[in-house]
Symmetry: C2
Subunit: 97 residues, 2 copies
């Protein structure tokens, strides 16, 4: 079952993501990152791969795209904050670039 | 060449879009619409079809997706406002639903 990250698990799971450009959002227990690609085709191609993993894992990002940039916000509505599912999806999104 | 809509062309081009749920944004010469689908797969499937047309026409939306909802903003940066290209893409996006 998905649970909100505890104080003990936040560091080990989130610190590696902060190293790759993820940050905590202000005023909201969510993590965010903006990916920049060389073109719209590259950006949307990455979104398509990400979308398939999101659906496979039944855990979907909030995301926006403007030409070659994609901004992603991850949080788990069911638990009201960042969960292990978000950390797992964040790692996958990084790996798909 | 793409031009910003003139006073004479705005009505004929935008009024039909306002009938389908497009609205003018506040404080910005852009049109926006939120599409709601039955699932993430339906939402992203529509985005994929839209992305191919956007690239084909070299005119890209600003858009965001949260699960089954997609919010689209159309404007033409080169002309600083809504152009015939935006109206054309808006009609296409409606037709792809």
């Amino acid at each position: 079952m998905t649970e909100k990250l505890s104080d003990a698990t936040r560091g080990p799971l989130l610190d590696p993501l902060f190293q790759t450009g993820w940050t905590l959002m202000e005023g909201r227990d969510a993590i965010t990152k903006t990916y920049k690609f060389s073109s719209f085709v590259d950006a949307f191609g990455w979104m398509t791969r990400a979308a398939i993993w999101a659906e496979k894992w039944d855990h979907h990002p909030e995301w926006s795209n403007v030409y070659n940039k994609v901004t992603v916000v991850l949080t788990t509505h069911d638990v009201g904050g960042v969960s292990t599912q978000d950390a797992k999806l964040a790692r996958k999104l990084d790996s798909l670039v």
